[in-house]
């Protein structure tokens, strides 16, 4: 698939005829310099954006054929996002943030609370549930974001430079969480330019100027 943007008069080719198949349960790292098209790739995988040409099948469904509300449902149920800048809703407790996707999924209040608490426990934030984003460290915020991403129990976890704003200790912790979630059967796609982060993945794809220049499998570094 390809993706082109018009930036003023100049047409930017963010992705040029990229062909990629991600298997269920894979731990994939996408690497590349900034501007290589990796974020665009992730937006397309995450159903936030659609390719200009070519197709994207998610779970056997051609995403192009889905209308907007269906895309919202897909993002809600099948995909969990983790962003570089955490992207928690400000002035809202960790618990409420994690409950949010469940709210949009139409889960009842009691069930929602139970599942959100379980997700927070899973990332080791059970004792921080009433803290607002501004009251948490970067590592804690990112763990809350992961808890939010897994709250609806999606099959795919997409992380865009999840460790970009974290120190090395928090990075190791975060990647340990990703490794564990992958071990539980989730497909994990991590975009990064840090080799040690990519080291946790079982497969590494390198992008340069919108093209895949390398795609290899590797032995995974074990989580802590």
């Amino acid at each position: 698939m390809s993706k082109r943007y018009a930036m003023g008069d100049i047409e930017v080719h963010a992705l040029r005829k990229v062909s990629l198949t991600v298997e269920r349960g894979e731990f994939l790292a996408v690497m590349g310099a900034s501007g290589s098209g990796k974020s665009t790739l992730m937006h397309i995988i995450g159903c936030l954006d659609v390719p200009t040409s070519g197709r994207y099948w998610l779970d056997g469904v051609d995403v192009r054929l889905l209308e907007e509300n269906m895309l919202s449902r897909v993002r809600n149920r099948k995909i969990g996002f983790v962003f570089q800048s955490f992207n928690l809703i400000p002035r809202t407790s960790a618990l409420a943030n994690v409950e949010l996707p469940l709210t949009y999924a139409g889960v009842g209040a009691k069930d929602r609370r139970r599942r959100a608490l379980a997700a927070l426990e899973a990332v080791g934030l059970g004792d921080r549930k009433d803290h607002q984003p501004s009251e948490m460290s970067g590592g804690q915020q990112q763990r809350a974001a992961v808890a939010r991403a897994i709250a609806t129990n999606p099959a795919i976890l997409l992380a865009d430079e999840p460790t970009g704003n974290l120190d090395s200790a928090a990075t190791a912790e975060m990647m340990g969480i990703f490794a564990r979630l992958n071990a539980e059967g989730r497909t994990v796609v991590v975009i990064t330019h840090e080799p040690e982060v990519a080291g946790f993945a079982g497969r590494v794809v390198r992008l340069r100027d919108g093209e895949i220049v390398d795609d290899h499998r590797q032995a995974r570094r074990a989580g802590r």
């Binding site: 936030l48 907007e68 509300n69 149920r77 949010l100 949009y104 999924a105 609806t152």
Partner: protein, 408 residues
Amino acid sequence: MNGLENVRISLRGLAANKLRSGLTVLGVLIGVGAVIVLVAVGTGSSQAVQNRLKALGTNTITILNRGRFGRGPSTTGTQTQAASITTSDVKDLEDRTQAPDIATVSPVLSTSLTGTYGSATYATTVTGTTPTYIGAEDYQIAGGRNITAADVTAHSQVVVLGQTVVSNLFSPGVNPIGQQVQFGSARFSVVGVLAAKGSSSAGQNQDDVAIVPYTAAQDQLTGYATSFSELIVQSTSAQTIDAAEQEAASVLASDNRTTTANLPFTIINQGSLESASASTNQTFTVLLGAVAAISLLVGGIGIMNIMLVTVTERTREVGIRKAIGAPKSAILSQFLTEAVLLSLIGGLAGVAAGLIGSRFRIVGVTPVVAPTSIFEAFAVSVAIGVFFGFYPAHRAASLSPIDALRYE
């Protein structure tokens, strides 16, 4: 995503910017409060005027001797002589065959005089008239009796006093009835006292009167005059007042050998006065309501303004919500709920403020709250929330998730 959940999320959004939300609410509050108070003031003043006109009696016609005021078209042609209302005019108006719709005719001859009782003196208006005057002017006898036709025929020096005159001439506890009061060089015995009536629509103290038979007034007070200063004519009912006015005009015209158009008198019909003032008040109320409605509209624009700012500020938040699966409808209803909550809170507070404001007298008017104005102002404020909230909410809901996420 149920409604209660929506309200909870929206309230949190509003609470995050308390000052801003508060000021927006204040805009709606002022609008709604203003509508309620100003419409209440309009209704109140209209009711006050109606009540005062009703007190005047809706079936009375006042005929003024225009010459007394030195104005009017009596200078046209040969009509330059000072026409005056005479006893023969009164007699003709009382004639049932000529004027079947006229019930009573009360001639009025008034003069300002100082009354003296013992050492107390008080200047008042002495009105020489007939017994029907009291009924026509809507006075009540509080004690004693009215002047009678026999008093008029006999030129009796009797007087009926208004409350103001009583309180100025007599010490409290003294029964004025049977006492003698000196007016000018004549002594009048008090036969009755009027009940208090208050001020007229023109602001005149209607209790500052002394009513005597006009014959006695001519004898003792004004010097023998053949003419009256005015006539108070009562029609047989409120429905016949216009017919009575026509009859009075034609009787007076034939008595003065002129046409009704050139009549040297001014005829004031209370019925037409009332309907004229009713329509004036209607206009007044509508005008006040319109001014208030404009402020409500401005409040609505305030909501739209603040919601646009909010949406812009929270573009990134919208992106996050969309990324984690919020459908368009959820974003739309979230922002719409915020706008409606702003206007709803403003509307409720405005109703409260309007009701409190309407308890005070405003520019001399006691406001009368119209229940419909409360309901309407409230409903309009909520509708304004929906109307002015929809565009910003729609804008938020239509944001593309990646553009929203990239927004800094």
